[in-house]
Amino acid sequence: MGDIVLQILNGLDKGSAYALIALGLTLIFGTLGVVNFAHGALFMLGAFCTVTFNKLISFQRVTLSETETTAWGSPLEIREPVMEAWFGDFGLWLIDYSVLASIVVAIPVMFIIGVVMERGLIKHFYSRPHAEQILVTFGLAIVLQEVIRTFFGANPIPQPAPDALRGMMDFGTLLGFEPGRVPYPTWRFVYFFFAAAIIGGVFAFLQFTTFGMVVRAGMADRETVGLLGIDIDKRFTFMFGLAATVAGLAGVMYTPILSPDYHLGMDFLVLSFIVVVVGGMGSLPGAVAAGFLLGILQSFASMNEVKALLPGIDQIIIYLVAVIILLTRPRGLLGRAGVMED
C-alpha cells in the first residue's frame, strides 16, 4: 500500500515535469502553429542557466602555490571562493540557494533567447510545412546543444538543491502510515508545486486576459487578426519568449533531480512530443492531463510486480499508451478536430 502511494507521488512528480515541458511545447504549437523540435534544447538551456549562474557565483580566485606542486609538476593552484570572502554569510546562502536564485537570471535570459529565436528564425517558418519546421528546429537544437558542449563538455554537472530542501519529507505520516514508510524527497514536492504554479499561471494568463484571446484568435487566423489592426507578430514573439521561459524554468528546477548535460534536451524531446500529441495537439489542458497520465503510468509500469507479469513493459509503456490512446481517441485526450491533421 505504501508502495502504491509512493508510486503515485512519483508519477505526480514525473508527470509535473512532463506536463511543464509539454506545456511550453503546446504553447508554441498552439499559438504559433510551429512544431518546435528545439523545445528540448530550451529546457536544456534553462538548466545551463543554472549551471552558469552557479559557476559564476562560486567563482574562485586562483593563486599558485609556491611550495606545493601537482602530480605532473606544475605549481598547485590554491582556490579561494570569492563569494564567501566578499559577502560572507550572504555569499554562502546564495551558493546554497543557487538553483532557486538562478530563476531570477533564467527568466530574462530565456525570454530573450526565445525572442531572438522567434525573430531570427521561427517567424520565417510560420507558413512553411510542418516537416520543414521540424527540420529547421531540429537543426537548431543540434547547434544549441553542440554550443553548450563546447563550453561545458559532455559530462553531467551536478547542481545540488539547497540544503534545507535536500532531505526527505515523511509524507506517509500525514496519511496515517507509520513513519518512514512513505518518505519523499522535499525537492520533488517543491518541483510539483512549482510546476502547478506555472501551469496555473499560464492558464490564467491565456484564459482571463485579452492577450490570451488575441493569441487564440491569432492561432486560428493570423491574417484576419492582423487585418483588425492587431500586431500579432509582437504578441507571437512574446508568446515564444513565454514558452521558452516556461521550458527554461522547467529545466532550471529540474537540475537537482537530473544533473544537466548538453544532451538533456534530446532525451526529453521525443517524450514531450508524445505527451503533447497524446494530450491533443494544441490543447493546453490536454498536455497537462497527458503529462500526469503518462507520468503515473510510467511509475506503475516500473513496479516489480507489473514487470514480472509483462517483462520490458516499463521500457515501452509510454509508447504503448500513446498508441492505444491515439487509436481510441483520434485526436488525443482533448485535441480539437482539424489541428495538425494534414
Partner: protein, 424 residues
Amino acid sequence: APTFFTSAANAFTNAPGASAVTLGFNVPQSGAYADEGADELRAYELAVKHLNGEGDGGMLNTFSSKVLDGTGILGRKVEYVTGDTQTKSDAARASARSMIEQDGAIMITGGSSSGVAVAVQGLCQEAGVIFMSGLTHSNDTTGKDKKANGFRHFFNAYMSAAALAPVLSANYGNDRNAYHLTADYTWGWTQEESIAAATESLGWNTVNKVRTPLGAGDFSQYITPILNSGADTLILNHYGRDMVNSLTQAVQFGLRDRQVNGKDFQIVVPLYSRLMAQGAGENVKGIFGSTNWHWSLQDEASQAFVRSFGQEYGFPPSQAAHTCYVQALLYADAVQRAGDFNPCAVVEALEGFEFDGMGNGPTLYRADDHQCFKDVLVVKGKDNPSNQFDLLEVVDVTPAEQVTYAPDHPMFAGGELGTCNPGA
C-alpha cells in the same frame, strides 16, 4: 577467408609503406561518452608523440619491454586517423571501416562501451586488422564474443566483483540484503551476474535484480520500491549518465540516511570512473567501487604517465586515457618485437605476453582469451577532496591473482577465439 583487397599483393590488410604506418583511433566524439572519448584521443595523441620520439617518453621509460626507442614502429613514423563511434555499434563499425578502407589503418583502437567493442572487434576480425579495445567492461568482450584479432587491456565485470567482494565484506559484513538496479543491456547483465555471484558467496542475500532502461533519466520509479523492500544495500550496475542520475536520485530519496535491519543503508557502484564521480558530485562520497586505474597511484609508471599527460594538457588523465595510451604502446611494442606488421605476428607477440611498468603492476595478456590480468583498484568516493580531480581514493589494490579466473569460467563461456585473420 574474406578479403578486403583482393588485388593487393600484400600478405595482410593495409601493409604499411616504408616510411609511415597509420593507426585508427575510433573514439566517441558525440553522445554521453564524448568527454571520455576526448580524453582517449588525448592519450592516443600523447602515445603517438612518445612513439615518434617526441615529448618526455612517458611510460616508454618505465615499460618493461625495451624494444621501442622513439623511432616510430619498425622505423616507420606513426600517423593516425580519428573517427566518431557515437557509442553506437553501427556507427562505430562504419567509422572503423572508413579508417581501414580509406585511410589504410592497420590497427583500430578505442571505444567506450562493450557493445561498440564487441562490434568493432568483430569487424576487425573480418577485415584482418588488430583491434585494441578501449573502455569495455563486459565479460563478453573476452568471453563469448572474443576474437583472435582483438585484445582488451581494461578489466571486466568479473574482476570488479572479485576485487570488491573482500572489501565489501570487510566494511559491510557478510549479512546483507542487496538490491540491484541494472542497466538493461549486455554489460549491465554481466556485471549484475558477476557482482551477485561474488556477494552471494560472501553470504549476502540478493533481494531483487531490477533492470532499468538505458537513459531513463529519472530513476525515481525504480528507487521507491527499494525503500520498503527490506534491502539494506543498493548495487548500481549503471555507468555514465545513468549512474550519475541514479546515484544522485538514490541519495535524494534518502537511501543513505536510512537504517534497515539495524544497519546503515549502503550504496555500491561496482564500476567507477573519475569523470562519473565528477558528474555525481557530493553524492559519491564514501561509496565503494572499482576502477581500472587512477592517477593518484604512486608507482613509477603511473607517475610518469600522469606527469607527461598533465604537462601536455594541464589536468590528470582518466582511466580511459590510461587504457588507451597503454593499448597503443602495447600494439607498437608487439609489432616491434615481432618485427612484422602482419596481424598474425602481432597476435602471436601479444598472446601470453607478460609485462610491467604500465601502472597496474605485472600484467599478463592471456593467450586463451586476450584478456589482460593485472591488479584491480578498489576505490571509494573521497570525503575531503583537495581539488576537483581528487575525487576517488584508492582503498585497496587487489592483486592480479585474486581476480584471475579460468578461461572456461561459465561467465565467459560460449564463444570461440577463432584464428587470427591477416585479411589476405
